[in-house]
């Protein structure tokens, strides 16, 4: 990186020093072949904080949160989740995945299992819970996302909004310390987006640590503690929602917001 000096100093998206840091990312770089997708990312998240990542498509926001639980492998930099550094160590990877829940754009429910089986699979196999306990917790979270009556159906029989809520319940049942949301509402019909967002809002209010990649600016404004704007693999601007939506600093951010708001 011969011309690193001429590049602008990377933005540090550190959390305010108050809370205890649960995610710390330092100098994160990632390449797909020759394509540099993540460039010198620095980001940290406090416990109980909701960080919303926005930016145009292809800006690397999804890749960023997929790096946090090693769905993508980073090549440079340091990722620490709940005090565990993400390295090539199998044990570290397993531990971090256990402690982070993830919700995908396309739900990724397992179509050959019932809703209940979808939810209890990981707790029984990974956490080694008894089946009865897993089912009890599963029903609790299904209740919480508002679809207790669908436990014995197959994912194919549910609507998109219901599926995504099941996916959230599935992640929550593992009792994660962090929830990662990868554009959870992008694949949904407008009329059901609300029900999923409501679940997320409730979750945030209960103090769950969340990193959310989304295009829902309303959600960002309402529940986000901090908003991170990414473009071309870099963090362009970080700030509180008020700062962000009322008075963004960077020209790039302004032009992005003007297009979508």
């Amino acid at each position: 990186m011969s011309d690193a000096a001429s590049a602008p100093a990377p933005i540090r998206a550190d959390a305010p020093p108050t809370g205890q840091r649960i995610i710390e990312i330092e100098g994160l770089n990632k390449w797909y072949g020759e394509f540099h997708v993540l460039r010198d990312i620095n980001l940290s998240v406090n416990r109980g904080e909701v960080v919303v990542v926005i930016g145009p498509s292809g800006s690397g926001k999804s890749t960023l949160i997929r790096c946090i639980n090693r769905l993508e492998e980073h090549q440079q930099g340091k990722i620490v989740v709940d005090g565990v550094e993400l390295t090539d160590d199998v044990r570290a990877i397993d531990q971090i995945r256990r402690e982070t829940g993830m919700v995908f754009q396309s739900f990724n429910l397992f179509p050959h299992l019932t809703v209940l089986d979808n939810i209890t699979l990981a707790p029984t196999r990974v956490r080694r819970w008894k089946k009865s306990k897993a089912e009890e917790r599963a029903r609790f979270f299904l209740e919480k996302v508002g679809i207790p009556e669908q436990a014995h159906k197959y994912p194919g029989q549910l609507s998109g909004g219901q599926q995504q809520r099941v996916a959230i319940a599935r992640s929550l049942t593992m009792e994660p310390k962090v929830m990662l949301f990868d554009e959870p509402t992008s694949a949904l019909d407008p009329e059901v987006i609300g029900e999923v967002l409501q679940v997320m809002v409730n979750l945030a209010k209960e103090g769950m640590t969340m990193v959310v990649v989304t295009h829902e600016m309303g959600f960002a404004r309402e529940v986000g503690d901090r908003v991170v704007f990414m473009d071309a693999g870099q963090i362009v601007e970080v700030g509180s929602p008020e700062h962000f939506f009322t008075n963004p600093k960077e020209a790039r951010t302004r032009s992005f917001l003007s297009k979508i708001l």
Binding site: M1, S2, D3, A4, A7, N29, W31, E34, F35, H36, R39, D40, H74, Q75, Q76, G77, K78, E85, L86, T87, D88, D89, V90, R91, A92, I93
Partner: protein, 604 residues
């Protein structure tokens, strides 16, 4: 920021190697490779030891030895004294011959059947369904046996009475033969023109594209290079006929008694066969003796018919027919009735005396069979025929005898080999005497251009000249084509059904007719879907051709197993076979990738 790729891992923390994902992978591979090498090593060692113990060849040195296997069906010259390697090569070429033609035909029939299965006509639809279901649910081995011994052998007429169709096509249960253009020894004259034609065609293509591009016009490009090529190449072909003459070192030797001759170049006393040379043979007067036969064909009787080699009436000034033993024939009241003058006749007894053959008169009341085993002599005057020698420089005519030597050779009685029989044919050949007086013929070599049209004919009991497809080849081909086409039909049907309904609706909405919708919109898209499974069917067809032995076709696997039986070199031959089949597989994969790449390009 300039992307630069680090070559070290991001992490600085020390991780024990048994927990490191990357190192685990390396170790797993390492263990796997060691286990594999050890396992394979043990197995190979076993084989080598066993082979050495059994004194079986484990290398390829046997390939250079003379094979001694007679092979009739071949694309390149071959003699029994040639090597095993050449015999195997012929097998490989024969595999290709059946595979390539089979693939083309199976595609045509399969697509047709696939479309028929979606026909709106109930009967057609049902017939196509029955076709597909029956054929793909019966083992191919059974089908090959069926086509060969239940259809192609019994139903077409025998070679002695072939069907001669217009255009020079001849059909019988020995196979199919038709005229074919072959390159002659003067082909080299044409080659520069062909090269020039190709170059000019390229230029024409380039020029046409450029002018179109310049004028920013849409127009067809292909007619220009094609016409250029045809004109230049045609000119060259025409020129190759100008000033043609027979080279002085080209000779033609002909043994009229044996009915065969050879065209050859003789240079310094050494002769080299000359392929595809047209020659004319004239025989002033000659005779041919043939016995009448009682045949049972596909469970039906054919009674007392005489079949002379296929001849046209204009090939001789006169044909005369007589019973070899005229007195005996007259005593029995035998007469000849011509079915196809001058080649096929029935022997009958004119019981009602009306001078013509009536139903039932060909049955001998004494035996209830026809008048078989009666010799009939045909005498031809001024027989002449122009022939083209084959790939090996061979020419064949009917085996005429001298016209004066009418007495037929005495037919020896059937006898099982007895005590005292010699165990070598060479001894017998030495004692055999040729009693007939020599038959002479006038011969001439015809000048040629770059190409010569070789016609098929039947001199004795086989096709000569032209392009010949044996019944064995046809049976195998038919079975493979029909069997594979059933699978292709299903693939095509699936492909057509897989084209989104919206495509049809859109096509109809812009005013295309039903046929246009199908041929312009649905079918091209379906073809794109079906290509990969089709290629795998093509591969299956090629591999299935290894069942050729069931139809007596000398394909690679057949020849390889003969060679293996003779030499015991099972392992080298197995390796050769695997290699050959992989080459074919790879070729198909290459084609698939090419076509896929093209289609993908079109898609964007």
């Amino acid at each position: 920021m300039q992307p630069g790729k680090p070559n070290v891992s991001a992490s600085t923390a020390v991780v024990p190697f048994w927990r490191n994902v990357k190192i685990i992978g390396v170790i797993a591979q390492f263990v796997f490779v060691i286990a594999l090498v050890a396992g394979v090593g043990i197995l190979v060692n076993n084989v080598v030891t066993a082979l050495a113990k059994a004194n079986l060849p484990a290398d390829f040195s046997f390939l250079g030895k003379p094979a001694g296997i007679p092979i009739a069906e071949r694309a390149i010259p071959y003699q029994v004294t040639d090597t095993y390697a050449r015999a195997l090569l012929i097998g490989f070429l024969n595999t290709l011959k059946v595979a390539i033609v089979g693939v083309v035909l199976a595609t045509v029939i399969g697509v047709l059947m696939g479309v028929m299965r979606l026909s709106s006509n109930w009967l057609v639809r049902t017939m196509a369904s029955v076709y597909v279901e029956v054929l793909r649910n019966i083992p191919l081995a059974v089908q090959i046996v069926f086509w060969y011994s239940a259809v192609l052998l019994p139903f077409p007429p025998r070679i002695s009475d072939p069907i001669a169709l217009p255009g020079g096509l001849i059909m019988s249960n020995v196979g199919l033969a038709f005229p074919f253009l072959y390159p002659t020894y003067r082909f080299a004259v044409w080659v520069p023109y062909l090269v020039a034609a190709a170059v000019l065609a390229g230029v024409a293509w380039w020029w046409r594209r450029r002018t179109l591009a310049k004028a920013d016009r849409v127009g067809s490009v292909w007619p220009f290079p094609v016409v250029t090529f045809l004109v230049v190449a045609g000119m060259g072909l025409g020129l190759s006929y100008v000033g043609r003459s027979v080279p002085s070192d080209l000779t033609f030797t002909f043994e009229a008694d044996r009915g065969r001759g050879t065209t050859a170049f003789v240079v310094d006393g050494k002769s080299r066969p000359a392929a595809f040379v047209p020659v004319t043979i004239e025989i002033e007067k000659a005779s041919l003796t043939v016995s009448s036969q009682n045949l049972v064909e596909s469970r039906q009787d054919v009674r007392g018919s005489v079949r002379f080699p296929l001849m046209r009436e204009n090939e001789a000034d006169a044909f005369e027919f007589a019973f070899a033993d005229a007195e005996a024939a007259e005593e029995r009241g035998l007469q000849l009735s011509f079915d196809k003058y001058p080649s096929v006749a029935t022997i009958y007894v004119d019981r009602n005396g009306n001078g013509r053959f009536d139903a039932g008169e060909d049955v001998d009341p004494a035996t209830n069979r026809g008048y078989g085993g009666v010799d009939v002599v045909m005498t031809v005057t001024n027989f002449r025929r122009t022939l083209v020698s084959d790939r090996d420089g061979q020419v064949r005519t009917p085996t005429f005898k001298h016209a004066d030597d009418v007495a037929a050779a005495a037919v020896e009685e059937s006898a099982a080999p007895r005590a005292g029989t010699r165990f070598s044919a060479f001894g017998q050949a030495a004692t055999a005497t040729v009693s007939e007086s020599a038959l002479s013929a006038k011969t001439a070599i015809q000048p040629v251009g770059a190409l010569v049209l070789s016609r098929a004919y039947v001199p004795v009991s086989n096709y000569e000249g032209g392009m010949r497809l044996t019944v064995n080849y046809l049976a195998l081909l038919l079975a493979l084509v029909v069997y594979t086409s059933a699978f292709i039909a299903e693939i095509v049907r699936g492909g057509i059904l897989a084209v989104p309904k919206g495509q049809r609706e859109a096509a109809r909405a812009i005013g295309l007719s039903g046929t246009q919708t199908f041929s312009l919109i649905i079918f091209p898209q379906a073809m794109r879907i079906v290509l990969p499974p089709m290629i795998s069917q093509y591969l299956n067809l090629t591999k299935n051709s290894s069942l050729a032995s069931l139809a007596g076709y000398a394909e690679l696997f057949v020849i390889a197993s003969v060679v293996s039986n003779q030499t015991g070199a099972a392992i080298p031959i197995a390796l050769l076979l695997i290699g050959s089949y992989l080459v074919i597989s790879l070729a198909f994969s290459l084609v698939l990738n090419q076509v896929n790449a093209r289609l993908a390009l079109v898609e964007r």
